[in-house]
Assembly symmetry: C2
Homo-oligomer: 447 residues x 2
């Protein structure tokens, strides 16, 4: 069987490796546009931050290993451009020379991922404007910092990549400016919690310009000029981190169904609307476990898991993926910021009757020195008493705590059920009543 | 209504406070033997460790506050000695003078807790032998360390209190000896994981004598002599930390049913076999959620929760407690050690068909410096595919991670369901595949 994969990142290489593990007779070919496969993309900000770290440390497995050990026909520098579902064939060009190629398949996996979405601002396509999605782009930023005296960096966007990169710049002693048109910092987050993050960011000297639309980007001799309505922001380096879009054009051109945000529609086995084509990773959608509806939340665990599930299905050992809760965590400076499930607004949109509570508790038991505040926002449905979502912010004890709530969401627990779960306690790690239980208890009073 | 409570610790004071909150008209009397109520008993080792910390910092709420603000008739120095369920009356004596008292009740809560269990070794009752259960005993140890040049401390026992106290002694520069008759260090723990803890303990210079029965304790001028078969261990201070027994004698003398380990039998509302008497906290048993059977695992969260549930039931707002998973965590030196649910042997005893897997993963994503190993042992039932228990050891990322597994146990998830949960990922906090998911994936292969 010819199993062809477009894209050699998390989903693509997970599917390729697992298919070969399950059935060594399958002929697996991967078309990867760049020269890099299997690296920790999410780790790039931390390596960019530290001149002592080699960006190549992020490579989990080298291309040669996939080729020699895993017997995968891994073709880097191969850019697919067209899928012909009728002929079961993928066309493309070899880079940099653009020699055309064509591959037939029995089964195809589209794992093209996502691409940075750039707002339509004049000047944004200037070749010196940086983005951060793949390793090449990460290396470019790092090289630039290593070889240029960057005093000020501007970042368009305030999502988690923008915040992680602002930390990286601060660590390198670079004055950092965050700018975006929307006037709410972390709009998806409960304001009380978002304010804690904002305070952390500004207290480290980062300039936050929310509600500031960049009308034009000019690259002058002295650097970038970001022309806004009331002011012009200047920086030696400009990073655009205004989110990503799914790379699904090739799929929709081939007639495959797409869903939320234009991501490729897949079922619980990652099958698209064409029975010979799978899609997985950041280019594909997923069932949101809480709403039961399709959603597009591109994250690394889902990509890896979806890649495996494609191989499982392909090899006759299907595993249905129940979907995602949208669990995520990021670090910004000394804070851990995490969420799972829906916020109030998302719950409303999904036709729940949301009730929310915000509590401030502590990272350690009473009397333990070094305890720091933990903020929890918890949302439930007044009609069903179901837990719908949790957000947390704190200096310690947030990143892994969120997983207890994520499991509760997967199990579709009510708040009362979650409140009765038997969580761990020891003074150095938290209060007797875990912050999640304290929040659940307060929320119960509103249900 | 006259609500009488024997014991002013976690369960007793939780019940007292919540009953007053729910119904200020209830007449609440608490009989507490010692002078201390509402303190963080679990925090004592950390305060004993640090000469700069005041032990009274551990007091969460002072007796006067309960009396004046909460309007609880809190009687310290009152030792109950007899329950008369027929007359609905409790007798006892005031300390230190031993004047007799007698209180009638409409509803009684027995929250007498547990007491250190001492092995029958000649000399163990010497007044200089220390135990650590209540604040008075904690203060005594601390005062001794502050006022005596203790060079060597011996601890009989190797449970979590023994280990937490060995850390406290090491932090004070005291050479520490752990001794117990059983030859397995942490016998409830998978050997691979127990070995990691043992290595941590011995690498800090702590002497571990497992399989060493103390036949006699002699207090000489130069300190304690612990006479064993093959050797005599000498120490300036001796702490006995060989576990606890439920303080249920008064209850069984009154004809109340008792269950595992002699703990007072209660239903999901904490009702004993007498309809006017509740029991809660370390003196009472609980349903084990995994086995569905009664078990006795005295821990702080359950005590607090059970106290609240007594008040809820008493005030006509009953909340049934589903039970416990036996989730616990402790810190020893630089390690976090956690468990939830059953180990292989317990699973066998409960008539499951246990399958176990042990994995070694990492606390951070690939390429992140400072990552440390995390060891996970996971047990499932081969017949039902149900997750039965998890143990974890690591320098970081263990204490809160265990809660995800605890919630999965509460939800009675299969390993396959747990493996599909959407857990958080960011490079500073873990690998893409959380250690728990990696263990679940390996375990799935054995099911």
């Amino acid at each position: 069987m010819k199993f062809l994969i477009i894209g050699g990142d998390a989903a693509g290489m997970s599917a390729a490796s697992k298919a070969k593990r399950l059935n060594p007779d399958i002929d697996v070919t991967v078309l990867e546009m760049t020269q890099d496969v299997s690296y920790s993309a999410c780790g790039m900000p931390y390596h960019i931050a530290d001149p002592q770290r080699d960006m190549d440390e992020l490579i989990v497995r080298k291309a040669e290993v996939f080729r020699e050990k895993n017997k995968i026909n891994l073709l880097t520098g191969h850019m697919a451009t067209k899928i012909d579902p009728g002929a079961k064939c993928v066309e493309g060009v070899r880079l940099p020379g653009k020699e055309p190629f064509s591959f037939e398949y029995d089964k195809l996996l589209i794992a093209t991922g996502a691409e940075p979405s750039k707002p339509a601002v004049p000047g944004i396509d200037h070749p010196d404007v940086m983005v951060l999605k793949n390793l090449e782009q990460g290396k470019r930023i790092r090289h630039h910092l290593d070889t240029h005296p960057v005093k000020t960096a501007a970042i368009m966007g305030m999502g988690y990549i923008a915040l992680e990169m602002s930390e990286a710049f601060v660590k390198r002693g670079i004055h950092t400016i965050l700018v975006k048109p929307g006037d709410t910092f972390l709009p998806w987050m409960k304001k009380d919690l978002a304010d804690v993050v904002l305070e952390e960011v500004t207290s480290h000297g980062i300039e936050v310009h929310a509600g500031c639309k960049v009308n034009e980007i000019r690259k002058e001799e002295d650097g970038f000029h970001l022309v806004c309505d009331d002011q012009t922001l200047c920086a030696d380096l400009l990073l655009v981190a205004t989110g990503v879009n799914p790379l699904s054009r090739m799929a929709s051109d081939a007639g495959l169904e797409t869903g939320p945000s234009g991501a490729i529609s897949v079922d619980e086995y990652l099958m698209t609307s064409d029975e010979h084509i799978y899609a997985a990773g950041d280019c594909a959608d997923a069932i949101n476990i809480i709403t039961g509806k399709k959603s597009w939340i591109p994250l690394a665990l889902r990509a890896n898991r979806a890649g495996w599930a494609v191989a499982d299905h392909l090899c006759g050992e299907p595993v249905a993926l129940p979907g995602i809760c949208g669990t995520s965590v990021f670090k910004v400076l000394d804070l851990e910021v995490a969420r799972t499930g829906l916020n109030e607004k998302e719950a409303q949109t999904a036709n729940f009757s949301p009730v929310e509570v915000t509590v401030k508790t502590r990272s350690m038991a009473h009397g333990q020195p070094g305890s720091t505040p933990i903020y929890v926002s918890m949302v439930a449905d007044k009609t069903s008493d179901r837990l719908l979502g949790v957000q947390m912010v704190g200096k310690k004890g947030v990143a892994h705590r969120i997983n207890a709530a994520a499991v509760a969401l997967s199990a579709k627990m009510t708040v009362a059920q979650f409140f009765q779960t038997d969580l761990a306690y020891a003074p150095p790690f938290g209060p007797v009543w875990d912050p999640l239980l304290t929040a659940a208890n307060q929320l119960l009073k509103k249900l």
